[in-house]
């Protein structure tokens, strides 16, 4: 990685061209538009040649760390290997060139992918039907909650406006609930890091729409009391929502449908190997139990038993429309290819190998880092900072942030930090099944060295990272004097 200090706008020179477009030989020209409808101001776009564009973005990419660069143990993000064949299949013109409103007869191959992928996700999760329309995990949550509300309202049970969310939940859970018009009620965790059933029970009444659960939860712990939770929530008339963010732990081993969940989402960009792309595009398919099938959002894709063809249709009773068309189809193709490669033989090992890797790292590091909950973990686990509190040269304690930044120097991406909120110094580590023991050993070694440095030379940690293109950014300056565009940047330069 090397520092490169240019914005594309700074390469611009009037009169340079980076495009290759045909001459305009049409008789009508756009300057025939009425003046009131024409743009008069400049669009502020750069003028750059093609080779300069390519070099600029390759230089930018060189300041980025991806799964293909190195180990990326970001907890709850499932940074597994993204197979290359999937990318190639996704960019096939036979799919990438299809218009979303083409008649179903002309897109049978694409609809078959949609239909079969839905079916395979049902098989792997124990749900009855899936919509592949949601664009991301949070979008899936929102869609699932819309289905939950529709279910109660369709039964005349419109007073169910509260949703129970554990205190360990991802931030998107309460946020999705709020956007869906639900009031969030938090349920506490026990000292063992699991949902406190005694705290849950009194919350369950006829105002509760349901509960959102992540299982294993964000501490990487399996909610062992799932049967009792399921019985209590269902007995109170609520539904169970499964947040699939941590499904990688269970893939091939346990199905949410078999645990009694009514609605769930999957993150195809986590469990099903589609790349994260620097923050998207993802896909967050939502699965439901049989009695909720008619509430899935539209459009829906079904296989007609009469004609043997796939059809696209509306869903008059459904939760509504949550996407322009039929989801991030290009991402669905990648997950489809991944399932074909895994097959029924290899899918059984995804969960176990990811759990093996997590427990191996946890057991290897538990003397150097504080392990608040020592039980068996699933695909991830959480340390609460360094085992020994150490004080840096400037009198402040060596923190989780310092450990994370120092890891970058050792060539690893940092784990998720300061989440979950249950601990002050959370370090959340998820290794995934696609990392070799050698890689895990190298990471363990680096983590131990860092724990040692925290004692011997804390300033190395406090000032880390040292080997990255930039050092720690001044986030306060960014927030108090926001410069969000090149235009603002130029005008603030002029002021100074």
């Amino acid at each position: 990685m090397k520092y490169y200090d240019k914005l594309i706008f700074e390469l611009s020179k009037d009169g340079r061209t980076g495009y290759s477009l045909p001459e305009n030989r049409w008789p009508d020209k756009e300057d025939g538009l009425p003046d009131v409808l024409k743009r008069t101001s400049s669009a502020d776009l750069p003028q750059v040649s093609e080779p300069d564009v390519v070099r600029h973005y390759v230089n930018l990419s060189d300041m980025n760390f991806g799964v293909d660069t190195g180990f990326y143990p970001l907890g709850s993000c499932t940074m597994k290997y993204n197979p290359k064949i999937n990318e190639e299949m996704s960019s096939y013109h036979g799919f990438a060139g299809l218009h979303p409103l083409q008649p179903a007869d002309t897109v049978q191959g694409a609809l078959q992918i949609y239909g079969e992928l839905s079916g395979w996700l049902c098989a792997l999760t124990g749900m009855s039907a899936f919509t592949l329309n949601p664009f991301a995990g949070a979008h899936g949550e929102l869609t699932g909650l819309m289905i939950m509300r529709s279910y109660h309202i369709s039964r005349g049970d419109s007073g169910r406006t509260r949703i129970i969310v554990p205190d360990s939940a991802h931030g998107t859970n309460p946020a999705s609930a709020a956007v869906c018009g639900l009031e969030v009620v938090q349920v506490k965790s026990t000292a063992e890091g699991l949902i406190d059933i005694e705290d849950l029970k009194p919350l369950l009444d006829d105002t509760v729409a349901g509960i959102m659960m992540t299982n294993p939860n964000t501490l990487g712990l399996f909610e062992k009391e799932i049967h009792e939770i399921e019985e209590c929530v269902h007995a109170a008339g609520g539904l169970l929502y499964y947040d699939g963010a941590n499904m990688n732990a269970l893939l091939g081993k346990v199905r949410p449908g078999d645990m009694g969940f009514d609605i769930m989402h999957l993150n195809l960009h986590k469990t099903f190997s589609t790349p994260h792309g620097g923050g998207g595009p993802g896909a967050g398919p939502v699965g439901v139990a049989g009695r909720l099938e008619h509430l899935l959002p539209e459009p829906v894709v079904t296989l007609s038993p009469e004609t043997g063809k796939y059809v696209i249709s509306g869903q008059p009773q459904g939760a509504g429309r949550i996407s322009g068309f039929m989801g991030n189809f290009g991402v669905l193709i990648k997950a489809y290819a991944y399932i074909l490669s895994l097959g029924k033989q290899n899918v059984r090992n995804v969960g176990p190998y990811s759990v093996l890797a997590a427990n191996y790292v946890k057991e290897s590091l538990k003397d150097s880092y504080k392990l608040p909950i020592p039980s068996l973990c699933k695909h991830e686990f959480v340390f609460d900072g360094l085992a020994k509190a150490n004080t840096g040269d400037n009198g402040t304690e060596v923190t989780t942030l310092d450990v994370a930044k120092r890891l970058l120097d050792y060539g690893f991406h940092a784990p998720t930090i300061y989440f979950p909120l249950l601990f002050h110094q959370s370090i959340m580590i998820e290794p995934t099944e696609t990392e070799s023991k050698e890689t895990l050993d190298a990471f363990i070694d680096a983590m131990e060295k860092i724990a040692g440095e925290a004692v011997s030379s804390p300033s190395i940690l406090k000032e880390a990272p040292h080997n990255t293109p930039v050092s720690r950014p001044d986030e306060t300056l960014a927030a108090t004097h926001p410069v969000l565009t090149f235009r603002q940047r130029k005008s603030s330069d002029n002021r100074s």
Binding site: C77, N82, E87, Y353
Partner: protein, 444 residues
């Protein structure tokens, strides 16, 4: 049996189990109740080699029909230059996560800053976020944002001239969110500004959403609208096609406060409907109410210019149940598509794209009118997409075009069909479309 994506050997597994202190992989699930452990066989295909996967996809692709696209309606067949695929395939961009660790994410952060700059420039707004899922969901977020910006007002007016799928998504979100929506009927194929002014008088209106280019392809003349909206204390939201903004009057020039829409038109392939790219821009006084990620410039500890995710106090992971949006990630890689596209195009290239689309669309428009089978129901200015009243029923017309490998004549209202021409279409293709129409009519 080995599998290419799993590095663990049997020896590795034994060594790791031994460190953990358990006897078997199954023992790693001893905390799971026995009756929920899945013991059957999964009803999914047998594992395939890479060659078999490739064969399966070519079979599937052969079940699709490649068509010459003369249809828009929210998804446009613009050209995607070769450079884009090359850049977005860089593993460092493709396989990274949201740029939480700024020190090793300057590539992503910097192109998002460039993206924000370009989108703000195109729309003539002060700020842009790092992107949203697609156009319709960005419109839903914009509607909820206008409510968050207002003081206790809870109604959003929607012009019926917006595309139907946009209206449906906004209405779905708002229904659950508890925001009242009211669709203002069109007049003569465009937004009815007088009706909006009347609806404003009823009070409680937080925002008004209108299209820049509407469901019939007409470029809306919004003269006087912003003044009326602002006088009532509401915000003007525009749903725009950013590609068109190289040539048509910008939301900023119309006086809009928030701009949303789909940037698929800026170099993103049709992809059967996704991934596309929602965008959201606004005036600077509203930036702290804007949902989604935002990248800002700062300096590092050594004074070097660098970029970070900023203004995060707005976001779901901080606000949790107090959040006004649940959006977490953006569609970062699609923002890279658009950033590279706009870097290549520049102001002149994007004007050329619009000129070619305008020229082609107006050629097809006049050729179709010359057949005597169509009339222009509204007679208003358009750019690349237009609607005609057809003497031939839409279904039959579309079928006749499909028989010639053309997708066009999308039904968009009673007797109305729409067509769209981008720079990707040639005169020969347009002539073929007109021929197909003529032969369809002579058969009747």
């Amino acid at each position: 049996m080995g599998f290419a994506y799993f590095p663990d050997t049997e020896e590795d597994i034994r060594a790791m189990l031994s460190r953990i202190g358990v006897a078997s992989l199954d023992a790693l699930y001893s905390d799971v109740p026995c009756d929920v452990l899945f013991k059957g066989e999964f009803d999914i295909p047998d594992a395939m080699s890479e060659m078999e996967v490739r064969r399966r996809f070519s079979e599937l692709a052969s079940r699709n029909t490649a068509l010459t696209v003369f249809c828009g309606a929210g998804a446009y067949d613009h050209y995607s230059p070769a450079v884009i695929q090359s850049v977005i395939s860089r593993s460092e961009f493709l396989t990274s996560y949201t740029p939480y660790q700024a020190e090793v994410s300057q590539g992503t952060l910097r192109y998002i800053f460039e993206f924000q700059s370009m989108m703000a420039g195109l729309t003539d707004m002060d700020c842009s976020n790092a992107s949203m899922y697609d156009g319709p969901t960005s419109a839903a977020e914009a509607a909820m944002m206008s409510v968050a910006c207002s003081r206790r007002k809870n109604k959003v007016l929607l012009s019926e001239a917006l595309f139907p799928h946009v209206l449906q998504v906004v209405e779905t979100y708002c229904r659950y969110h508890g925001t009242e929506t009211c669709v203002i009927p069109m007049k003569d194929g465009v937004t009815d500004i007088a009706a909006i002014e009347a609806a404003l008088a009823s009070g409680n209106v937080a925002g008004i959403m209108v299209p820049g280019i509407n469901r019939f392809g007409i470029i809306e003349d919004l003269t006087g609208l912003a003044g009326a909206v602002h006088d009532s204390g509401a915000l003007l939201i525009m749903y725009s096609d950013p590609s068109s903004l190289a040539v048509i009057r910008t939301p900023g020039e119309w006086g809009a406060d928030i701009v949303c829409g789909d940037a698929q038109t800026l170099g993103i392939p049709l992809n059967f409907g996704g991934p596309y790219l929602g965008f959201l821009c606004c005036r600077k006084e509203f930036v702290r109410k804007m949902p989604g990620r935002i990248v800002g410039e700062t300096v590092d500890a050594g004074g070097k210019r660098c970029y970070v995710l900023t203004l995060q106090a707005r976001e779901q992971h901080i606000r949790r149940e107090k959040a006004t949006s649940n959006i977490c990630s953006n569609q970062s890689l699609m923002a890279l598509y658009v950033t590279v596209y706009l870097s290549l195009m520049g102001p002149q290239g994007l004007k050329r794209v619009n000129g070619l689309s305008y020229g082609g669309a107006h050629y097809l428009h006049s050729e179709l009118l010359r057949t005597g089978l169509f009339e222009d129901p509204f007679g208003k200015p358009f750019l690349k997409e237009f609607a005609l009243r057809s003497a031939i029923p839409a279904g039959r017309l579309q079928k006749a075009l499909l028989d010639r490998g053309i997708f066009g004549a999308l039904s968009c209202g009673e007797d109305l069909v729409s067509f769209c021409v981008t720079e990707n279409r040639t005169k020969e293709e347009a002539d073929r479309l007109v021929d197909a129409v003529l032969s369809c009519s002579s058969k009747s």
